[in-house]
């Protein structure tokens, strides 16, 4: 029996742990690459969709604002005010910060305000075509 602190069989005691660690590291690495790939795809897709939607809103609002500049009497008073507040909200939307916690709720708010806006301006329903619709349950009343 050797007197050294290290034993040739020491490593065998850690075998399980070693395999565990190695497996974990491999998994992590592979997972990261896979996740990154998938995340990029999903991010591109949904980012594009949201971007399109927000772009649609800002395009419409820009036209309306320009129209108001030339003729300040267009639409109703409420409609005019609504265009103004909506464009402010649009500007405040954190489009480039997908990690922002309020991203989803702000987007939802934007959509709601859009409905009100289009209704006030008399162009309802004006929707960005890619807007996802809920499913209808025909048995529900």
């Amino acid at each position: 029996m050797s007197g050294s602190s290290r034993d040739i069989f020491d490593s065998s005691l850690d075998l399980e742990r070693e395999h565990l660690d190695r497996g974990y590291a491999e998994g992590l690495r592979d997972g990261q690459t896979e996740g990154l790939k998938e995340g990029r795809e999903v991010g591109l897709k949904s980012g594009f969709e949201i971007g399109e939607e927000v772009g649609f809103y800002s395009g419409c609002v820009e036209i309306w604002s320009k129209a108001l500049e030339t003729d300040g009497t267009l639409f109703s008073a409420r409609g005019r005010k609504s265009i103004h507040t909506f464009s402010q909200q649009l500007a405040a939307f954190p489009l480039k910060e997908p990690q922002n916690e309020q991203y989803d709720s702000l987007l939802k708010q934007l959509r709601t305000r859009w409905k009100v806006l289009t209704s006030l301006l008399g162009v309802a329903p004006l929707e960005y075509p890619g807007y996802p619709r809920g499913e209808e349950d025909p048995t529900s009343f």
């Binding site: 109703s76 409420r78 409905k115 209704s119």
Partner: protein, 421 residues
């Protein structure tokens, strides 16, 4: 957790889908509520494309923009409704302001049509020239049609405005006490508030997204501008305007956590003063809430919040579709999927244990209809009369008998006589 399925039963409701031939007036509208008129209305009953008016005078209702005429003609006695009609999911007691008209009630049943009367503010007191405006509901089906606003001038109704916006069936419509705001709710989970502008213009004030499921009914507080909505998501939400800037938000949610309902809330009704509110639900109970406080002062919980006062349970066997609290006699009527109508009253002496008011049933009409009763509404001025609408394509008027005007002690023999239209 899966919702308890007490709702589905084969019913006449599906007829329109199976027998399109009977889908007469292009069924733009489904009758879903019974609303009262404060004026002297007239009897109407559905008959194919014509709605017959039982009254002293004649009234014609025209829906101009769709080219369909719903004619209300005078009939002395015409009973029953013809087969093949769409089920009456509700009735409306429309106002016909012909002076000297006999008391009566007008209803739109069967053939779709929901009218809710609003009194034109300028003409309060001028009975003979009062203009009535009504809000009609949209129809079920894939296309989400606009709400229509109808106006009655002289003897005619005409559609004066069309409100677009909802993406799904509009379930309920309600005017506020002042008559300047109109609330609509829909199966698209949103509640819209519209403001009436001069010249029959209606502007959208706000879209309230808060419910996570279909909104079944909206009702305004009788004196304040507070809107209450009941939903498939088991909650009742109270909405109020924040300041003066068209900013409506949910100031309180009455959910199952706050002793609220544990299943779909189908309807709410306020008592005559607005100090209490009753709600009915798929969980077979009625719940009474103390609503005298102002919930806008405390968001959610706290001093101003509305509190649960009492639960009326054990009486109903199936979903309670509708509830109404009479302004005249303080009774609560409920319409249920077990074909019965029940009347509840406030107990004179609450049990000393809780100190809270309790309610008990004072009358029950079993088999009030041959199938689900969809809606009940009390007459606004006559304490004995109650109207009910059902899937059996009938609208019935009931008279409460055998009790005095004040609350009976242990009420006896409270019968209801039905009068067929």
């Amino acid at each position: 957790m899966p919702k308890k399925l007490t709702k589905p039963r084969p019913r006449a409701r599906f007829y329109p889908y199976l027998i399109p031939a009977f889908y007469k007036i292009s069924s733009y509208l489904t009758v879903l509520e019974v609303i009262h008129s404060e004026k002297e209305p007239a009897y109407v009953s559905p008959r194919c494309k014509k709605l017959n008016l039982y009254s002293e005078g004649a009234t014609t209702l025209k829906k101009l923009h769709s080219g369909v005429t719903l004619t209300l003609r005078t009939r002395a006695s015409d009973g029953g409704s013809s087969p093949g009609l769409k089920p009456a999911r509700g009735a409306v007691l429309g106002g016909a302001q012909r002076p000297g008209m006999e008391r009566g009630m007008g209803t739109f049943g069967g053939c779709p049509g929901l009218l809710q009367r609003r009194q034109d503010r300028e003409s309060v007191g001028q009975r003979s020239r009062a203009r009535h405006q009504m809000g009609l509901q949209g129809h079920p089906g894939g296309v989400a049609p606009p709400d229509s606003i109808w106006e009655q001038t002289g003897g005619e109704f005409e559609c004066v405005a069309s409100l677009e916006g909802h993406e799904n069936e509009v379930k309920s419509v309600a005017w506020n006490a002042g008559g300047n705001l109109l609330a609509t709710c829909s199966r698209d989970k949103s509640v819209w508030i519209w403001e009436a502008q001069p010249g029959n213009e209606y502007e959208c004030v706000s879209v309230l997204q808060g419910h996570s499921q279909d909104v079944k009914m909206v009702r305004w507080h009788p004196t304040r501008d507070l809107l209450v909505s009941a939903s498939y998501d088991d909650t009742i939400k109270v909405w109020a305007e924040d300041g003066d800037e068209d900013d409506w938000r949910c100031v309180q949610t009455l959910s199952s956590a706050a002793q609220g309902h544990t299943s779909t809330v189908w309807g709410v009704a306020f008592d005559s003063t607005g100090d209490r509110m009753v709600s009915c639900s798929d969980d077979l109970t009625l719940k009474v809430w103390d609503t005298h406080t102002d919930p806008t002062t405390s968001m959610g919980a706290g001093a101003g919040a509305w509190k649960h006062v009492s639960t009326i349970s054990g009486y109903h066997e199936r979903t309670i579709f509708s509830v109404d609290w009479s302004r005249m006699n303080g009774l609560i009527a409920s319409a249920s999927g077990d074909d019965a109508i029940r009347i509840f009253a406030d107990d004179e002496e609450p049990p000393s244990t809780t100190g809270q008011p309790t309610f008990s049933q004072v009358a029950k009409k079993e088999k009030a209809h041959s199938t689900d009763v969809n809606c009940v509404r009390w007459h606004p001025t006559d304490p004995r009369l109650l109207a009910s609408a059902s899937d059996d394509m009938c609208v019935k008027i009931w008279e409460l008998r055998g009790r005095s005007e004040s609350f009976p002690n242990g009420g006896s023999a409270n019968g209801s006589k039905d009068v067929h239209l």
